[in-house]
Amino acid sequence: MGTGRLYAAVAVGNFRRYATYRAATAAGVFTNTVFGLILVYTYLALWDERPQLGGYDQAQAVTYVWLGQALLSTLAIGGGGFETELMERIRTGDVAIDLYRPADLQLWWLASDVGRAFFQLLGRGVVPFAFGALAFDVALPSDPVTWAACLVAVLLGMVVSFGIRYLLALSAFWLLDGTGATQMAWLLGFFCSGMLLPLNVFPGMLGEVVRALPWSSLLQAPADVLLGRADPVGTYLFQGAWAVALLAAGRLVQSAATRRVVVQGG
């Protein structure tokens, strides 16, 4: 089997695995929709007070909310992808078995996480987004090119998100217990991705800093492409640079970590 086909099979397998949890998916859709609803009303109140806040009009702000609900679990903005599983395998020492497999550890998990992300996009993302678009005044692009451009930004966001969480998971080689690290990742993910509030609403310096961090690739970047507020090529370069940097860092940490694996080989 060619290597490309191997990783494709891993991705498809994980897509199917997530697809079996139907009740959980329906529950997630419901919850994302309820939270979207609450957020939309608070955003509307905010934009009532300050029209054109952060350069968005009301319809754009509402669109931003629903895109956030669609991407929350797709891009695992607060965590909740492969990383808990990998952390558990590191803690128990099972990761030693993975290292003997004739597949690359990082690519293997990337493929599996991409499979998960695609399922979450279709299973949990589309319905809240469609609900939001039907129930509220939204600003959706009419040309398919912008939609496609946004989809590319989402794909790059998947890789950046994976890169962040791969480093997080590898921290288990040193920390063993991932509770603290997972919680930090959750906090950073929500705050720095724009899930809490669009990053262009953040005041002054703080706004500039959060926009330069990798998390802005997760929600702010695809949103600005969809809303026609950012040049797609520049956005891709930004996301791509972070993706490459994070994946390379993951490789480095991985090789440092695997030298320790003997110790944990329960």
Binding site: A23, A24, F30, T31, Y41, T179, F191, L197, P203
Partner: protein, 279 residues
Amino acid sequence: MGETVRAARAGRVAEGLRVYGLIVVMWIKSTMAYRASFVMTTAGNFAATALDFVAILLMFSRVDALGGWTLPEIAFLYGLSGIAFGLADLAIGSMERLGRRVRDGTLDTLLVRPAPVLAQVAADRFALRRLGRVVQGALVLGFALAHLDIDWTPLKVLLMPVMLLSGAAIFSAVFIGGAAFQFVAQDASEVQNAFTYGGTTLLQYPPTVFGKELVRGVTFVLPLAFVNWLPASHILERPYPLDLPDWVAFTPPLVAVACCALAGLAWRAGLMSYRSTGS
């Protein structure tokens, strides 16, 4: 006859509370075996819940009012909702694990023990770190009280503890109702989050922010408005949502009792419908 039934019921409640207390003490002891870990997870819990107040602060860095309410007024709502929800979450937040227990069959272990199941499930993995949420809510409430110019009357002072406890009871009823639903739904525990975490998020903002239909829903269907919106409107002398009469601000205890009774019935129905996985 009626007397003995009542006595038996009272005995069962007392037994439930005793069992709950025992399990809680056991979990606290086990938590305290790893003190550093307890301190860190409590701080983490504090930080995680503080995040939505940070969002409100960020909003107020750009505006002076939201839905016509000022920052201290919204902090007042936030603190009340945070403490009420935090107390409920601390007391019985573990109930959201029920779906997993139904799925993997470990609920059976609790059923064969000679103690009320509800007490066992509620105390299961009691997490003292959830105090972080209560503390965070209390700090925000303190900030609000320091910045608000409230015209205190004895009635208003009395209303404060009453609304906090009633609010905690209303949220507890939501937790129990959600757990009862999981007997049927099994792996749909996230639905519960929409009402628990979603409910407390909703109450952090003034009712004027939301659509009339939504406000009606959380007043008459799922009576979350009684946790803080209505009593807080009385204390702050704000117009009531939906133009309700003045006296409704004092009804939270009644609403709480009614909610708990309904949740109890739902719980019993759920438990009756439980069929073990047999594994």
